[in-house]
């Protein structure tokens, strides 16, 4: 199964995301921001980094890349899309996901190993986890504070669309400890923590992140 990873100018974790897909048993395919084509992939990862330097707002410029027009269109028809960190920001800026990511409450970039609780296992990217399972995955961001209007939050909670939540400390001030959410179909997931940095014992705090990439493989096969 082929999973595309988009590289924007300033993407950083694109190679890591491709490695994670490989470790999970998938076939990574590099996608380029300037090409509208998805090269026949079965799912897409928008990786972490600082697309266009994140100068204006994180993800604000990347949202308009040619590849995003296709991603937005295909996501609406069920293509599994995972946005990690900057990818999550791009998904929010694109309105594929509600809410927005703002400056961390403490105003610093923060990199730490973070405990998370998986709250929704019905998405394309989390079906391999157990409901309520706690995992440890790195976070690293300067603008990871999730915000949304109260009614939006209530709807997200009501529909079970909070996918992962910070457990044991909130690293950036996100409302209701939200670390990741999904769209109503569950094919589009965005999260601030970096599962691609938790796929090998040697280089990550755990291998707990692998489940995101193995989940989509089974989701696409079934």
């Amino acid at each position: 199964m082929k999973i595309g990873v988009v590289t924007f100018p300033g993407s950083l974790d694109d190679r890591d995301a491709r490695r994670a897909i490989r470790v999970a048993g998938g076939e990574p395919v590099a996608l380029w921001h300037g090409d509208a084509t998805l090269r026949g992939v079965d799912a897409v990862v928008l990786p972490g980094g600082f697309s266009y330097g994140d100068y204006l707002r994180c993800g604000a410029i990347a949202r308009f890349a040619p590849v995003m027009q296709t991603v937005i269109d295909r996501a609406g028809r069920g293509l599994p899309v995972l946005g990690i960190c900057n990818g999550f920001q791009i998904l929010c800026e694109s309105h594929l996901l509600p809410g927005a990511l703002t400056r961390n409450a403490h105003l610093h970039f923060r990199n730490r190993d973070q405990r998370l609780r998986v709250e929704n296992t019905a998405t394309s990217w989390t079906s391999g986890y157990r409901q309520g399972e706690e995992i440890v995955v790195p976070v690293k961001n300067g603008e990871g504070c999730f915000v949304a209007a109260p009614d939006v939050l209530d709807r997200l909670e009501g529909e079970g669309r909070v996918v992962v939540r910070y457990a044991d400390g909130n690293p950036n001030g996100s409302v209701r400890d939200i670390a990741g959410i999904c769209n109503d179909r569950g094919n589009v997931v965005g999260l601030m923590p970096h599962p691609e940095h938790a796929v090998e014992k040697l280089t990550g705090p755990s291998i707990d992140g692998l489940g995101f990439f193995t989940s989509v493989l089974t989701a696409a096969v079934s």
């Binding site: 204006l56 707002r57 604000a60 929010c92 703002t102 400056r103 961390n104 105003l107």
Partner: protein, 79 residues
């Protein structure tokens, strides 16, 4: 060349940690009497004539501000 100024602020209901940090620092620096501080972005654009204000508003609305959390004001400066 005509100049266009766009100010983008977080909507009032959204927490502004930068503004709060500044407000918190003021008494320590000996500045009293400031009740609230909000921080936003200020853009200055130089544009060709004739100025198409509607189009510029669209630009501000889609790119310079994120309407989910921000609002903006736009002013075309007199030459």
């Amino acid at each position: 060349m005509p100049r266009v100024v766009v100010d983008v602020m977080l909507k009032p209901e959204i927490l502004d940690p930068q503004g709060s940090a500044i407000l918190g620092a003021l008494p320590r620096l000996g500045f009293d009497g400031v009740r609230s501080v909000r921080q936003g972005k200020h853009f200055e654009l130089e544009v060709d004539e004739p100025v198409d204000e509607a189009r510029l508003r669209e630009l501000a609305d889609t790119l310079l501000a994120n309407s989910v959390i921000e609002e903006f004001t736009l002013q075309v400066m007199p030459l």
